[in-house]
Assembly symmetry: C2
Homo-oligomer: 341 residues x 2
C-alpha cells in the first residue's frame, strides 16, 4: 500500500503507528458488514485519504509515542466514518467523477447504492460511538453529524446564488468542516482524561483550525496544482459555489465585470476560469485570503497559549504551522528572498 500523501506533512510521520492501528480497526469493522456491502465499504475506506480527523483525535489525546488506547482508535474510526459518509454523499451531489484519482463511489456503484452506502457508514459510525461506557461520545458525534449535514444543506440551497455574505460563508464552513475538526479534538482530549479547561482549549483549537483548513481548501481550488491535489481546479466557480476567493474578487471587480462574474456563478454563462484567475492575481485576492487563513490559525494557536506544557500542545501547534506553509506554497507570486549582505 502506498503511504498516504498528507496535506499536514511531517507531524504525520509520528502518527504512522496510530494510523496503522486505525486502518486495522476499520478493516475489521468492514468485515462485519453484510457481504454485499463489504466491498463497497472497503472501496471507501481506502488508505489514500488524508485521515486528518483521526489525526486530530490522536494528537489531541497524545500521551507519547506508544500505541494509542483502544478508545482513541475507536473515536478516530468514528470521525473518519462520518467523514467518509459525507464524502460519499457529496460526490453524488457534485456528480464528481474522481476523488483522489479514483472513481467516486457514486460513479463506481451508482448514485442509488451510494446514498445507502453513505447511510450505512453513518450508522456504523454511530454504532461505534454508542460502544463507549457513557452516552457522551454518541451525543456529541450525532449532534456534530447533524450540524455537518446542515452546513452542506445550506451550501447546497445557496448554489448559484450570488447573494452570500461573508457571515453566510463563515457559518457554512463552520458547520460543514470545522464542526468535525472540533469534535475530533474534543473526543481525543476528553478520552485522554485531560482537565476540562484544556479539553475546551483543544476543542476551540480544532474548530478554528477547521475553518482555516476549509478556507485553504477553497483557496487551493483556484491556486492549487491539479497534479498534486488530484482533482480538477475551479470546480467551486463552475458549480456556483461562492467561496472567500470569489467573494473578494467580486468585491474588487468594477461593477460591469462583476455582473459578468455573477452570471457565471448563477450558471447562466460558462465560467471564464483563465480570466478570473488572472483577475485574482491582479487584484491581490491571494494575499487577502491567506491573511484570513493565518488570522484563523492565530486564533487557534491563541486558544492553546495558556497550556504550553501539555503533551498535545506542541503537536497541535505544529499542525497550524504546517497549514501556514501549505498556504504559502500556493502563492502564485512568492515573496522574493531577502537580499544577502
Amino acid at each position: 500500500m502506498q503511504p498516504p500523501v498528507h496535506a499536514f506533512g511531517q507531524v504525520f510521520v509520528r502518527l504512522q503507528p496510530h494510523l496503522a492501528s486505525l486502518d486495522i480497526f476499520l478493516r475489521d469493522q468492514v468485515a462485519r458488514f453484510e457481504p454485499e456491502i463489504r466491498s463497497m465499504a472497503d472501496y471507501c475506506i481506502d488508505t489514500s485519504g488524508k485521515r486528518i480527523r483521526p489525526a486530530l483525535v490522536f494528537l489531541s489525546g497524545w500521551r507519547g509515542d506508544e500505541a494509542p488506547s483502544p478508545d482513541l482508535v475507536k473515536a478516530a474510526a468514528v470521525v473518519e466514518l462520518v467523514h467518509l459518509a459525507t464524502l460519499v454523499h457529496d460526490d453524488i451531489m457534485d456528480e464528481a467523477e474522481l476523488r483522489r484519482k479514483r472513481r467516486t463511489a457514486a460513479r463506481e456503484f451508482g448514485a442509488t447504492a451510494a446514498v445507502l452506502l453513505g447511510d450505512a457508514l453513518f450508522s456504523h459510525a454511530l454504532h461505534l460511538a454508542a460502544q463507549f461506557p457513557t452516552t457522551e461520545v454518541c451525543l456529541h458525534v450525532a449532534e456534530s453529524t447533524r450540524r455537518v449535514c446542515a452546513g452542506e444543506i445550506v451550501q447546497t440551497l445557496r448554489r448559484g446564488s450570488t447573494d452570500i455574505s461573508r457571515e453566510d460563508y463563515w457559518r457554512i464552513i463552520d458547520l460543514k468542516t470545522a464542526e468535525l475538526f472540533r469534535v475530533s479534538c474534543f473526543l481525543g482530549s476528553r478520552l485522554a482524561g485531560s482537565p476540562a479547561a484544556y479539553v475546551e482549549a483543544v476543542t476551540s483549537f480544532g474548530r478554528h483550525l477547521g475553518i482555516a483548513y476549509q478556507v485553504y481548501d477553497d483557496l487551493a481550488d483556484f491556486f492549487g496544482d491539479e497534479q498534486r491535489i488530484g482533482k480538477t481546479l475551479g470546480t467551486d466557480l463552475s458549480s456556483g459555489k461562492i467561496t472567500l476567493p470569489l467573494q473578494i474578487l467580486l468585491d474588487r471587480l468594477p461593477p460591469a465585470e462583476r455582473a459578468g462574474l455573477n452570471e457565471e456563478i448563477a450558471g447562466r454563462r460558462s465560467p471564464q476560469m483563465l480570466l478570473r484567475f488572472s483577475q485574482m492575481k491582479e487584484l491581490g485576492v491571494f494575499p487577502s485570503v491567506a491573511d484570513a487563513i493565518n488570522a484563523e490559525i492565530a486564533t487557534a494557536t491563541e486558544a492553546l497559549s495558556a497550556w504550553p506544557t501539555e503533551g498535545p500542545t506542541p503537536l497541535l501547534l505544529e499542525l497550524g504551522s504546517i497549514l501556514r506553509e501549505q498556504v504559502a506554497a500556493l502563492n502564485p507570486e512568492p515573496p522574493k528572498p531577502a537580499q544577502a549582505g
Copy 2:
C-alpha cells in the same frame, strides 16, 4: 389537521393521545434545526404518515391509557425519524413522484437537498437516542439503522435480477422492514421496565409482524386499491423488484411465459401489468401469499403465548388480527359467505 389513515385501524384510536404527544415532540425538535432545514423537515414530519413504528413503541410499553412517559415519546420519535430518513432516501432512488398524495421530498427540494435532509433526520434521531441515561438505546438504534440500510442496499443491487431465492427475499425484508419493527417493540418494552423474557418475546413479535407487514405491502402492490393506498400499483414489477407474489407467479408459469416475465423484470420489455395480474388470479398467487403472511402473524402471536396477562399482549395481538383482516380485504375473490340455515 386530518387524522391519519391507519392500515392498523381501531387500536390506533386508543393511541391518539400518545401520537398527539409524539407530534408535539417532533415539531419541537424540528424547531431546533437550522432555519434553512426547518421547513424541509416539517414537510417530512407531516401527520399523514401511518406512524406504525411509534405505535409499536407505545403499545409495547403500554401501561394503561394515561399519558405516555417522556422516554416512550422520545423513543417513538427516534424510530419515526429513522423511518422518515429512509423514506426520503428511498424516494430519491425510486425517482418517486408522490408519497401519500404529496410530492416526495426529492421532487419538492431536489435530490441533492433530499440526500442531506435524510442525513440530518438520521443524525437527529441518533442524537435523541443518545439522550437516554445509558448507551443502550443508541446502540440498538444505530445497529438497526445500519441493518435497514444494508437491506435496502441488497435490494437495490438485486434490482432487475431474476435470480432471487425465497431466502434472499426473506432476508431483505427482515433487514429493511422487520428490523425497525423489531427495535420499536424492543425499545417500548425495555423502557417500560418489562422483565427480560417478556422484552424478548415482544421483540420477537415485532420482528415477525414486520415481516408479515412487508409481505402484505408487497401483496398490496398488486392487489391493492390505488385510490385507497394513494400510490401507483405495480411499481415493484416496473422497477424490477422481485417480491413474493412475483416469485410465486414465476414458479407457476409455464417456462415460455416465465421467460417473458423475466424479461419484464430485467427491464428489457415493458411490464404487462394486466396480463400478470390476471395470471396471478388464475394461478392462485393471492391465497399462497396470504398464507405466508398469516403464518408469519401466527409466529408473532406464538411469541406472546406465554404472556397472556401482560398489559401490552392483547393490544399487540390485536395488531396481528387487524393485519390479517387487511390481507383478507385485498382478496380479489373473497370467499362466499356461508349459506344461511
